[in-house]
């Protein structure tokens, strides 16, 4: 029996979830199944990933008005997969009231989950949504435990990374510059100013160290960071590179990846670095510790602890054997988040939701 899936995302911008889901969608297409499967996508707004999504999906609809969305939903789908909370809250009521197919909520580390985990924000509407959908997935068991759901309806998935692509990045060599890379959108919660301060300390022990930040940001945030770099006289050593279409090429030219954020979920950037055998230095926030054990694949510091961050970066840059050991451990750890097995599990969860749907016809 063929199955038609509609995956709903909020936008086609370059962001953690949009990029991760694109990789999952591509992996779906590579998975061989006895039954023909069609994967369609609905996005509420467009963005730079449009061409990639068009290639990966059987069809892509970009629609924000009620009329256009309803038109899209009226084509028969066996499962509608709502990716993250904003999509779910917008469409689930309509789907659950008027739609025959199964409704699946792919709940990652979205805003409502993050606040629930941090404490102080309990939102009944979210619990109701999770209770009413035919299936729910989370990206870590910790998140799943926050919500009171019957086991048969929930799946705890891993965060996925395109391991194979990043594993092909050449290992660090003598020619690799003493570069620290940070892959992050420029936003206040990423605390990129801490990298400027860390670099100032790092240069005292590693005089040829350099820092490179790759990611998008508003002109305001870019200007703010540039001002910090300039006032510290670090313009030669600290580069704000902007968006990159080839993260693997960026990782190839670095020895270590740093992420100084005060708030994270399960950072894709760390997994990409780890897949490419780069050790990481990051902060003890969110679910980072489901990816990294302090001293094993890299080091973990408290947000804002600039001197600890600088110390660990120096250690990695100066001790080649240590860096290699950490990098190999990181690579092995990242393999557990390989895209294909995670995509397979995700697809299995979606099919179970459809099967629940089909069995209730019996």
């Amino acid at each position: 029996m063929s199955l038609r899936f509609l995956h709903v995302v909020e936008s086609l911008r370059r962001g953690g979830i949009e990029t991760t889901f694109l990789n999952i969608l591509r992996a779906f297409s590579d998975l061989h199944d006895e039954a023909p499967l069609e994967h369609h996508v609905l996005a509420f707004s467009g963005g730079p990933l449009e061409a990639a999504y068009r290639e990966a999906a059987a069809s892509l609809v970009i629609a924000s008005s009620t009329a256009d969305i309803t038109l899209c939903l009226n084509r028969r789908y066996d499962v509608v997969n709502l990716v993250f909370d904003r999509c779910a809250h917008r469409l689930a009521p309509l789907l659950l009231a008027r739609f025959d197919g199964a409704v699946f909520y792919s709940k990652g580390y979205d805003m409502s989950a993050m606040y629930r985990l941090q404490g102080g924000f309990e939102w009944c509407a979210e619990d109701a949504l999770l209770a009413a959908c035919d299936g729910v997935s989370f990206t870590t068991p910790d998140l799943a435990r926050l919500y009171d759901l019957p086991p048969g309806r929930l799946t705890a998935l891993c965060k996925a990374v395109d391991f194979d692509s990043f594993a092909r990045v050449p290992a660090v060599s003598e020619a690799t510059p003493n570069r620290v890379l940070c892959i992050a959108n420029l936003h206040a919660r990423k605390r990129l100013g801490d990298l400027v301060r860390a670099l100032r300390l790092l240069l005292k022990v590693v005089p040829d160290a350099e820092m490179r930040v790759v990611g998008e940001g508003s002109p305001f945030e870019v200007e703010k960071l540039q001002q910090e770099v300039q006032s510290d006289g670090l313009s030669e050593r600290f580069v704000i590179a902007g968006r990159s279409d080839d993260v693997a090429a960026e990782i190839k030219e670095c020895r270590v990846v740093a992420l100084p954020s005060e708030s994270e979920g399960v950072p894709t950037a760390l997994l990409e670095a780890m897949s490419a055998r780069r050790p990481v230095v990051c902060t003890r926030v969110g679910h980072v510790e489901t990816l990294v054990t302090d001293g094993s694949e890299g080091y973990i510091v408290q947000p804002g602890d600039v001197s600890a961050m600088a110390d660990y970066l120096a250690e990695i840059l100066l001790d080649r054997a240590l860096a290699k050991r950490l990098g190999e451990a990181a690579h092995a750890r990242a393999l557990k988040h390989n895209l294909k097995p995670v995509a397979w599990e995700h697809l299995a969860a979606l099919r179970r939701a459809a099967a629940v749907d089909a069995s209730s016809l019996a």
Partner: protein, 394 residues
């Protein structure tokens, strides 16, 4: 068009009506019908902007309520943080005295960087989730000596406490659809401004509208149909906004003098009066609560795979939809409990025709929220009463 039309604009945004038919004929006109079609097309006929599902209204201290009126021929400039305002800070400084400035907390922070203060800072959010984001990532700003700060009863206390001013108030009437620039425009119009300008409300680049801002753009276009008012978009860049012709800031405030604000405010009811109202709300929903718990229990059994509940579920669906026909009950559930799903079902209906075995889904969705919200409100009332009692003993 009259002040009453703006009031109706606010009521539509507050989800007071299930259909345009509920609006009395005498109040319906082209402006109102335009607002309604925006409501349906861009907001799925439900904004959720008035919902207070985390009951911040209980945690907030009593706030002054009322409105601000402006001197005749006043100009209001709604300032956002888009690129066109960041590049115009010098111009705003030069022309500061020519217009009232209304902005958001992030706008106030941007203006403060240039040594400027707004006349009114409006704190408004589309949902409790967006409000929580503002609490956890607050804009760094503080009001100037003459700044009025407009909040809602549901504004998180953490944001209200950041503002140390006796110029904090809840605007009555409220025009909010959850999108502060549109609310600010409506406030300016209701307050008597004859000219309303936008700066830094870019909504896109190089003339093209970013689709995520389509709802706000549609609202601004609707408001620009208010007659006898001059509207202008003073931002050099940004999307075209129908009804808002481009005009440089110097043209919008040509030698105008500083408008004068006059506040008409009254004190809110003391906390213990409000707690009486909350208890009375719970009491009024006792019967609905009891029915809901029973129907919810049945739906959960159907969800678990038990059969034989088709007609009970169908009955539950019909009962939930019936509640929507009682306007007083509807208001209690929506505005009192902050429900979002039942109100949506009242608008979309629930399709009973096709798959009876699926009817547990909308019942679980709506009643899990309803039962949960009643429990949450009861707990909040108990917590506040306990705190008050301990305070009394001390």
């Amino acid at each position: 068009m009259s002040a009453s039309d703006l009031l109706l604009f606010g009521e539509i945004g507050a989800d007071r009506y299930l259909s345009l038919d509920e609006v009395p004929d005498r109040r319906r006109n082209e402006f109102v019908e335009r607002a309604w079609s925006v409501y349906v097309e861009y907001f799925d006929a439900f904004t959720g902007a008035a919902l207070d599902p985390v009951f911040h209204r209980i945690d907030n201290a009593p706030l002054s309520r009322g409105g601000l009126r402006f001197s005749s021929d006043s100009r209001a400039l709604i300032v956002g943080t888009g690129p066109s305002s960041r590049s115009s800070l010098d111009a705003i400084t030069r022309h500061r005295d020519g217009a009232l400035i209304l902005t958001s907390p992030r706008g106030a922070a941007m203006l403060a960087g240039a040594g400027l203060h707004a006349d009114i800072v409006l704190i408004e959010h589309t949902s409790c989730l967006e409000a929580e984001l503002s609490v956890r990532e607050p804009a760094e700003w503080s009001p100037g000596p003459g700044t009025w700060v407009a909040v809602e009863p549901k504004t998180p206390p953490a944001l209200v406490h950041l503002v140390a001013t006796d110029r904090l108030y809840v605007p009555i009437p409220w025009f909010g659809w959850g999108l502060w620039p549109a609310t600010a425009v409506a406030m300016a119009l209701y307050g008597g401004c004859s000219h309303v300008g936008l700066l830094g409300i870019d909504l896109g680049i190089a003339g093209a509208l970013d689709p995520q801002y389509a709802p706000l753009s549609a609202l601004l276009t609707t408001l620009a149909h208010v007659p006898m008012i001059q509207f202008a978009d003073c931002g050099a860049t940004g999307a075209q906004k129908p009804g808002w012709p481009k005009l440089p800031l110097s043209g919008f405030v040509p030698g105008a003098s500083r408008p004068v604000l006059e506040a008409t405010l009254s004190q809110a009811s003391p906390s213990h009066h409000r707690m009486v109202e909350e208890r009375s709300l719970i009491e009024s929903l006792k019967e609905v609560a009891g029915e809901s718990r029973e129907m919810f229990a049945v739906a959960l059994r159907a969800r678990a795979g038990s059969t034989g509940f088709d007609s009970s579920l169908a009955k539950s669906v019909r009962r939930m939809l019936e509640w929507g026909r009682d306007t007083r009950l509807r208001q209690a559930l929506q505005e009192g409990l902050g429900l979002s799903y039942l109100p949506r079902f009242w608008r979309t209906g629930i399709d009973l025709g096709r798959r009876a075995d699926r009817n547990w889904r909308p019942v679980v969705l709506a009643l899990r929220e309803l039962v949960g919200q009643i429990e949450a409100l009861n707990k909040r009332i108990a917590d506040v009463s306990g705190t008050a009692l301990r305070g009394g003993r001390e």
